[in-house]
């Protein structure tokens, strides 16, 4: 049975042009009413079907149309063309906390938020205890939510939606927030819902969570459906799209620029290509560049960021002590890392080329690659710190189960 279907769905946004209004009151009015605009198709002719009980992930880069799809699915905005068929009660877990009213207590907000998610009052009353307990908030439930920390906000919001028991659950980046133990709890609850036969649509950057939860994945690219298949296949395709296309020619690639990076590879010290980097392990980042003419005193930077755009660290050729005079042509820069300090997860890469004499970068490639880091799951914290442990007096070692 089909639970959810997109039939040739398109969504157009009109982006108003920034032209100044003509002078005079009448001119302003006319400009305001019929402002010239350009069309932007955030979703273009997308069709797919999701069967009852399936859990489907939607992945894609920023601007691929993921959030628009979510808005369409949850009826926040209507499609410009096409039809969306929804069979059953749909609940969207999009930043549920946004419905909270700061002056009201947690309890009052559960009623309000529940009603926003389409719950009946009696239904909320019957589930209130479980919601509060799951969020671990029983002590604070009668405190105005303006006194809550952002973590408490999210916990209560998620807990509400997780107890809604819809037929179809839409999940956004909700799992990106909260501490690791609560994230695990959320994933556990979602798995439980999935096993009970609920249809799940999970739209996320968190590829690991998508892989864990979803039997099928849709890959979006520039507003269109680029593929549908198993999580492994689609995540692989996702990485393919995000890598540099190494075949790009210098002329087309670096119009106006004298030098540009054209690719980055992630290798083991032995030079083997890695699909995932080991947390704490030795790795080699190989940056490829091309130059149209000789450029003096060049500095290479590789910036590693988390998916929520927090810079983790920067590889900087000047830290190694010098700048490089490059001849025309091209080459490679190897950054050797003895022990990668990243915790498990996905990271985005920016590359920058500077020359000493100019404030402006020669070349800047934001988000030109995405890389996965694997390792022991870090329970809390931002980094993986390689460590040795000594316990004194030397205990009887109990073997790990």
């Amino acid at each position: 049975m089909i639970d959810l279907a997109f039939l040739n769905v398109s969504k157009r946004y009109r982006i108003p042009s920034e032209t100044a209004p003509p002078p005079g009151l009448l001119g302003r009015l006319r400009h305001r009413v019929a402002r010239p605009s350009t069309d932007f198709w955030a979703v273009r002719d997308v069709s797919f079907e999701i069967s009852k009980g399936e859990s489907v992930g939607v992945i894609g880069h920023n601007g691929a149309g993921k959030s628009t799809m979510l808005k369409l699915l949850s009826s926040i905005t209507a499609p410009t063309q096409g039809e969306i068929h929804v069979n059953g009660r749909i609940a969207a877990l999009l930043e549920v906390g946004s419905g909270f009213h700061p002056e009201l207590t947690g309890r009052e907000n559960v009623y309000l938020g529940g009603a926003l998610l389409g719950m009946r009052r009696a239904e909320i009353t019957s589930k209130l205890d479980r919601i509060v307990e799951f969020a671990g908030m029983s002590r604070f439930i009668d405190v105005p939510v303006k006194r809550y920390s952002s973590g408490m906000y999210v916990r209560l919001g998620f807990s509400m939606a997780a107890h809604l028991e819809p037929d179809i659950l839409l999940l956004d980046e909700v799992l990106a927030v909260g501490d690791a133990s609560f994230q695990d709890k959320c994933l556990g609850r979602i798995e439980q819902l999935r096993n009970s036969g609920i249809t799940i649509v999970f739209i996320s950057h968190d590829l690991m969570a998508v892989q864990r939860l979803c039997s099928r994945v849709l890959l979006m690219q520039q507003g269109q459906l680029a593929g549908s298949g198993t999580a492994e296949e689609m995540i692989h395709r996702y990485h393919e799209i995000s890598r540099f296309q190494n075949t790009r020619s210098v002329e087309r690639d670096i119009t106006g620029a004298r030098a540009a990076s054209t690719g980055i590879e992630f290798l083991s010290p032995a030079g083997d290509s890695l699909t995932a980097l080991p947390s704490g392990g030795p790795v080699l980042f190989r940056l490829k560049y091309e130059t149209r003419e000789a450029v003096a005193k060049v500095r290479f930077l590789v910036v590693v960021q988390s998916l929520d755009d927090v810079v983790q660290f920067t590889l900087d050729s000047r830290l190694a002590g010098r700048l490089y005079d490059l001849p025309a042509g091209g080459g490679e820069v190897d950054f050797h890392i003895d022990s990668l300090p990243l915790r498990d997860g996905f990271y985005r890469i920016d590359t920058v080329l500077y020359t000493e004499y100019e404030a402006e970068a020669l070349d800047y490639q934001p988000r030109c690659a995405t890389v996965q880091v694997q390792g022991e799951r870090v329970r809390e914290g931002l980094y993986y710190v390689p460590q040795r442990v000594d316990v004194r007096p030397v205990p009887v070692v109990s073997s790990r189960s």
């Binding site: 926040i76 499609p79 009660r89 009052e108 926003l116």
Partner: protein, 278 residues
């Protein structure tokens, strides 16, 4: 079961099916309407020192000003009714209307976060402001009862007309709330114009004077303003200086119902893409 909850999301259109969906959505979300209205009232008074007193302070203050202006400085004919009672019972429906519409006008733009992130029938937002104004009206009604006792104004047999009159006022307030709030999403001028509009509108309604003061030949045009029929007949129902003026009430009802249909259609059509432009 499955077929009853099946839903098809289409581009907005002025079709019967589209609006039938809107009505059934609203019915499904009636608990949200209830919860939000309740919270609206609660939050409004939660952190103010005077609390509920604000609900009566405005009509009372207005009553004092107009009493000084129109029964001390200059005399407005009131058919023998004490001017404070005369003006206060007109101020009740008027204050209800102006508070409801002025607050509801900004209700969508004031909840941008919610509209961009959660689905629910958007008309619930302006509706909650209308209901909060109903609550204020009930409180002010208690004051009116007290004044009537004080001035010795007897209850009238035509008192029951209060209900249909208020129903018309409610329908009219709801329809303007829909109209103004959806226009405000595109044109922020609406909320800027609101204080001026309401001031002019009050003097175009028989609040400080009675309908009889309006020259006969302008009456037909005058009662096209539904608030004319509402305010005048609310006063007549309470103090009974004259029988209910059926023509003005009927015209008020006709205009209100027509406007309600038109503004609901406009609102639902706008709603489909509201989240994109708000």
């Amino acid at each position: 079961m499955a077929s009853s909850s099946a839903k098809i999301i289409r581009p907005p259109a002025f079709t019967l099916r589209f609006f039938a969906r809107g009505i059934s959505d609203l019915a499904a979300y009636r608990d949200l309407l209830f919860s939000l209205s309740q919270h609206r009232v609660r939050v409004r008074y939660k952190q103010s020192a005077l609390g509920m007193a604000w609900a009566v302070l405005q009509p009372l203050a207005m009553m004092f000003i107009y009493t000084i202006l129109f029964s001390v400085f200059t005399r407005v004919p009131t058919a023998g009714i004490p001017y404070p009672v005369f003006v206060f019972c007109a101020l009740l429906p008027w204050t209800f209307f102006s508070t409801a519409v002025a607050n509801a006008a900004g209700s969508l733009t004031g909840h941008r976060e919610l509209i961009a992130k959660v689905f629910f029938p958007r008309e619930i937002l302006p509706f909650t402001y209308v209901f909060a104004a109903v609550f204020d009206l009930l409180i002010a009604g208690v004051i009116l009862a007290g004044m009537m006792v004080y001035y010795g104004v007897a209850l009238q047999p035509q008192l029951f007309w209060v209900l249909p009159v208020l129903l018309v006022a409610l329908v009219f307030a709801v329809s303007l709330s829909l109209l103004f709030s959806s226009l405000q999403v595109r044109f922020r001028d609406i909320s800027l114009a609101m204080p001026l509009l309401m001031q002019l509108w009050m003097f175009a309604s028989p609040v400080v004077y009675s309908l009889d003061a309006v020259p006969e030949r302008y009456r037909g045009w005058y009662v096209l303003n539904p608030m004319a029929g509402v305010v005048e007949n609310f006063r007549r129902a309470i103090v009974g200086q004259a029988p209910i003026d059926i023509p003005s009430l009927a015209s008020a009802a006709a205009v209100s119902v027509t406007l309600l249909l038109a503004s609901y259609l406009l609102f639902k059509h706008q709603e489909a893409t509201m989240a994109d432009i708000i």
